[in-house]
């Protein structure tokens, strides 16, 4: 049915620029300035979605961020589509494609609609009660649920759009551009404060700006004209920044706020191209003024969810702002005066008002009288008991309310209508206030929660209707009075204002309106998005749920993407009424950020892909790439994992590298090891305190392995430290532990041992480390540095020399992590790649083989050397690791010493490090595999697990390290490693598998 529901030009819609868009595949037209919702309504489309649980037809219900129904999917490319967009918030643009979500196969014919007819079987907690049991059925339920329900489809490809983050600092941030926000911004800017005003709409002025009604006058002119002048005057302030299409997402402590600025969502595809889509503002403001207004409440009665049932204030905005009729035979249902404003707007636009149903006895307000004078049929002290019409409301039935409002009396009369406006009063938007830590108080007169001025965090204030002021004169008067104190103002341009507005005198509120039918035969919806009804809340209370937080989770009321903006107050009201509690004592559920959903793209901004995390590369990295290394991530470092040759598998490459390192020579880029330069007159004493062994007697030019514990006695890090001078050491740490070790040492120096004269400097990046090992390592080093005396006498194992290579100073340590004769050269990083290449050239005649971390791990496992973080997990003491030899027994104290003889750490049945050999030497265990003694004794006791496991090419058999309960005493004992399809038999051995006598160190 083609109808023109566009009534007239408004100043907000440009009827000269027509825009085409698609909704569910059909091409439609709207105008620049339309929201998708207003454009759909102009095309007489109300039915836009199916509800979540019952798949009931649902229509556009509001005009803002509180919209529960009109949630659409944007874009036609399923890999890049944008789900869960509110049709009331998105502005249309040329080429926009939107589809209904949560309906299959189409919004007009939805298979899930059958849920509506079986709804008595789907009460509150249905999912909990049914689908949770038996657990094995879950997969079947899941298929059914996923297919027939769901909130939109996630895009399958990475988000192609650009997002940005920006910081802003200001004196005053005003949130909300309605009349109180405008007044606040102007007062702040006039005082010379750096001010930012943000508003989520494309047009400032809130609901006042389209209030073309002579009942509202400010200084003798209509309130909308007055406000328009004020908005224009804001341009005169260079210290005021106004951000439209910007919604506040979160209000954190210390006035730190996040706001999302929408830059291109309203533009056509061509205009959007290559531009930043959204910007996340991180705002630190000295003071914050919240002026977020209020939203209208629905009324809760049977079948109050049909398409065509819209909030009264939204009907008014569609007419006055967008110039769109939401129907041609409209009725209104209210408990307050604001519906009468809608009536006047309808009348002015020549739209028939069928009837106004008002639950109050009467209202004396001037605005009601105005409507009465128009001859509109007002049904006082009445309620709607039922509505009809499947895909659009067609009629409703009205009955008289009893005095107490708990039941209906008299006869029923039926009214035909094509649109029903509902108004249940107003709810202040206090979300941001509570997010910031403010506490609410309940105002019984208006049935609202408002900020408690005594429990408001400092440096913020709330003004306007979000603070509970609804009358124009009070909004202006109280805002100005409040800001005089808050901003320390004397006289303002808003003193002595003449404000005329209607005065609401009669109030009546019934949270759940009665019906002539018993409750179980009605469908009074509370949360439209999650399909929960007043019945569900009552059922939850009957079943014993008392806390509002529990009722919320059990019934899912308020848990949709709208966070219960429309439903929370009624849910609370019904709980209070049913349990006989005062709403103020009941409290509210917690409002959590974000206020409206944020896309992940906005949250991460530019920190995607390459920029997600830092990547650290060694100075030799390019050579590794040229030589086809496979890389492993170690912390933020990229380390060569292995260097495959001629299509080798990882296993083949590692076996070749490991063999070559022991047979002749291997070369490793060890630059990632943490290096800390330690200087000061107390450096030796400091090392005595941080390592378990003794350092005072270490001669200059000697190296020593050290084990570092936490105060709880557990192994934390390890590495070799070299004494390069009397008061000068170089400590090495594990690659992953480097920064934590430095922080920990700094902590002790700064806070516990302030008397020590010690200075720590990280030199990890400044020095690169090249490790050359194997029987021919000595020959290679000798060729690199011909004048260095490499004899065991002059340069023994665990010592160091200062030297020069191509006239560049370097430090050479003779230390070994492989058990081979081995050197580590530390050189300034900018010479490292040249030195590496030179070493490879010189070593060619010895088949010098570059190896990666995997071979390094294999070689050290052959020697039984631990890797902290792989063989340890923060629960092992040195004794557990069979490393008692490294505990300085005579030392008075070191970090963790006292913990080594706590009752728990001296237990003999702790898990301890052991070696494992498989009965079948070819069988390589999986790291992490469990160890058990007897697989038939149920329950099977887990004795420990495999921490390192390799096939050793040098021993030609499988070797492993493991931690096992009482492992030290179990040498020679057989255990079982149970795997999915077999049990592997293993024998507990010593942890050292290769060269037990350490002969190769001096080979």
């Amino acid at each position: 049915m083609k109808k023109n529901l566009r009534i007239a030009n408004t100043k907000f819609i440009d009827q000269t620029s027509r825009i085409s868009f698609k909704f569910n595949g059909k091409t439609l037209y709207g105008f620049k300035g339309d929201s998708l919702a207003s454009a759909l309504l102009a095309n007489n489309i109300h039915l836009v979605a199916r509800s979540f649980k019952y798949h009931r037809p649902r229509g556009i219900m509001t005009c803002g961020s509180e919209e529960p129904n009109a949630i659409v999917q944007i874009g036609n490319d399923p890999s890049l589509t944008d789900p869960n967009v509110r049709a009331t918030e998105i502005e249309i643009y040329e080429g926009l494609e939107a589809t209904s979500q949560n309906c299959w196969p189409s919004v007009n014919f939805d298979i899930g609609g059958i849920n509506n007819f079986i709804s008595p079987l789907l009460p509150a907690g249905f999912y909990y009660k049914t689908f949770m049991w038996p657990a094995s059925f879950w997969e079947k339920y899941e298929y059914f649920i996923r297919h027939s329900a769901g909130l939109g489809k996630a895009p399958k490809k990475p988000d192609p759009d650009l997002y940005d983050h920006q910081y802003a600092h200001c004196d005053v941030l005003v949130v909300g551009g309605g009349i109180s926000g405008i007044i606040s911004a102007k007062l702040s800017a006039t005082k010379g404060l750096d001010t930012i005003l943000i508003d989520d709409k494309n047009f400032l002025g809130g609901s006042t700006i389209y209030q073309e009604n002579s009942s509202y006058k400010i200084n003798d002119i209509n309130s909308n004209k007055w406000l328009n002048k004020e908005i224009e005057s804001l341009r005169d302030y260079p210290n005021l920044i106004i951000k439209n299409r910007t919604s506040l997402a979160a209000f954190h402590g210390y006035n730190y706020l996040l706001a999302r600025e929408n830059l291109t969502d309203h533009l056509s595809y061509n205009e959007k191209k290559d531009r930043i889509r959204q910007r996340l503002w991180k705002i630190r403001s000295k003071k914050v003024i919240i002026a977020t207004g209020s939203i209208e409440r629905p009324l809760i009665f049977s079948n109050n969810d049909r398409p065509g049932i819209i909030l009264c204030s939204s009907i008014k905005k569609y007419i006055d702002y967008y110039g769109v009729k939401t129907g041609e035979n409209i009725s209104l249902f209210t408990n307050n005066d604001s519906a009468y404003e809608t009536a006047l707007s309808l009348n002015k636009s020549g739209i028939k008002i069928n009837a106004i149903v008002d639950i109050r006895k009467y209202s004396e307000s001037s605005i009601v009288k105005e409507v009465l004078n128009l001859g509109v049929n007002i049904l006082w002290e009445s309620t709607i008991v039922e509505t009809h019409g499947y895909k659009r409301i067609k009629s409703f039935e009205v009955m008289k309310l009893s005095k107490d409002g708990n039941s209906v009396v008299g006869s029923k009369s039926k009214y035909i209508t094509d649109c029903l406006g509902i108004s249940g009063g107003w709810t202040p938007m206090v979300h941001l206030f509570t997010q910031s830590g403010g506490k609410l108080k309940f105002k019984n007169d208006d049935n609202i929660f408002v900020p408690d001025e005594n429990k408001t965090p400092s440096d913020q204030t709330s003004v306007g209707s979000c603070n509970g002021d609804f009358k124009l004169n009070e909004i202006i008067g109280n805002t100005v009075e409040n800001l005089k104190v808050f901003l320390d103002l004397n006289k303002t341009c808003y003193d002595d204002m003449k404000v005329i507005c209607p005065d609401e005198k009669t109030k009546r509120n019934i949270w759940l309106l009665p019906s002539d039918k018993p409750l179980y035969k009605t469908k009074p919806f509370l949360d439209f998005q999650n399909d929960s009804t007043a019945k569900d809340v009552k059922l939850a209370l009957r079943e014993g749920f008392k806390s509002i937080e529990h009722v919320k989770r059990y019934t899912t009321t308020g848990m949709g993407t709208d966070q219960g903006k429309l439903s929370n107050m009624h849910a609370l009201g019904i709980i209070a009424d049913t349990t006989g509690t005062n709403m103020g004592e009941l409290g509210t559920t917690t409002f959590r950020p974000p206020y409206t959903p944020l896309s992940f793209g906005t949250i991460v901004g530019r920190n995607v892909g390459e920029f997600f995390d830092h990547t650290r590369r060694t100075a030799i990295h390019d050579w590794h790439i040229e030589n086809k290394a496979e890389f492993e991530n170690v912390g933020q470092w990229k380390r060569p994992w292995y260097f495959p040759k001629n299509g080798e598998t990882m296993h083949q490459a590692v076996q070749r590298e490991s063999k070559a390192a022991r047979d002749s020579a291997g070369i490793l880029d060890a630059s990632t090891l943490g290096k800390i330069d330690i200087q000061g007159t107390d450096a030796s004493e400091f090392l005595n305190r941080v390592y378990t062994n003794s350092w005072s007697k270490l001669a200059i030019g000697k190296c020593r392995y050290g084990l570092m514990l936490n105060e709880d006695g557990m192994v934390y890090d390890d590495g070799v430290t070299t004494r390069v001078g009397d008061n000068h050491y170089i400590m090495t740490t594990t690659t992953g532990g480097a920064s934590n070790v430095l922080s920990k040492l700094e902590d002790y120096l700064q806070t516990e041992w302030t008397e020590l004269d010690v200075y720590l400097t990280t030199v990890t990046d400044q020095y690169s480390t090249i490790s050359i090992c194997g029987p021919n390592s000595k020959n290679i080093i000798q060729k690199l540095i011909p004048d260095l005396d490499l004899s065991d006498k002059n340069f023994p194992h665990m010592s160091f020399k200062n030297s020069k290579i191509f006239n560049v100073k370097c430090r050479i340590m003779r230390i070994s992590f492989t058990g081979e004769h081995s050197y580590e050269i530390n050189i300034q990083s900018n010479y490292a790649k040249d030195l590496w290449k030179k070493s490879i050239d010189i070593g060619r005649e010895y088949n010098i083989t570059p190896y990666g971390t995997e071979t390094m791990h294999l070689l050290r496992a052959e020697k039984g050397f631990i890797i902290t973080g792989q063989d340890t997990d923060g629960t092992l003491t040195p004794s557990d690791l069979q490393m008692d030899w490294i505990i300085g027994k005579k030392k008075y104290d070191f970090i963790g010493k006292r913990s080594l003889y706590r009752s728990d750490t001296i237990r003999e049945d702790r898990k301890q490090l052991v070696g494992l050999l498989t009965d079948d030497p070819k069988e390589v265990l999986e790291e992490g595999a469990q160890l058990v003694e007897n697989i038939n004794n149920k329950p099977v006791e887990m004795l420990g697990h495999v921490t390192s496991s390799y096939f050793s090419p040098n021993l030609n058999k499988s070797i492993a390290l493991a931690i096992v309960k009482s492992g030290k005493k179990m040498k020679g004992k057989k255990l079982i490693v149970p795997m999915e399809n077999k049990n592997i038999s293993v024998t507990i051995t010593d942890t050292v598998f290769y060269d037990k006598e350490n002969k190769r160190l001096n080979a």
Binding site: G253, Y256, G437, P457, D747, Q750, T751, R898, S899
Partner: protein, 92 residues
């Protein structure tokens, strides 16, 4: 996300800092002379107060200095900042 007035650098965003837990837990000078219970008291027991708490903080992404703050954990208000070795303010 609060602001912390580093005694060495001035006011900075919380993201630059890391919290080191309860302050004024002095490491015993002679741990070996303590009983298991006494050592456990130092090692494991923390007050975790709702309200005024004395805390250690480190300006991790700044000067790397440790210092103490007095913070109300119920509303994150910082009542005082003082250097290591300085006495905590008597009155909050």
């Amino acid at each position: 996300m609060f602001l912390i007035n580093c005694p060495y650098c001035g006011e900075r965003d919380q993201t630059e800092f890391s919290c080191g837990g309860e302050a004024h837990l002095e490491r015993p000078k002679q741990p070996t002379e303590l009983s298991d219970d006494q050592w456990a008291e130092y090692l494991f027991m923390r007050k975790n107060i709702k309200g005024i708490q004395y805390e250690r903080w480190n300006h991790t992404h700044g000067c790397r200095k440790w210092f103490n703050i007095v913070r109300d954990t119920s509303n994150d208000k910082i009542h005082a900042v003082y250097k290591i070795g300085e006495k905590p303010p008597v009155k909050i």
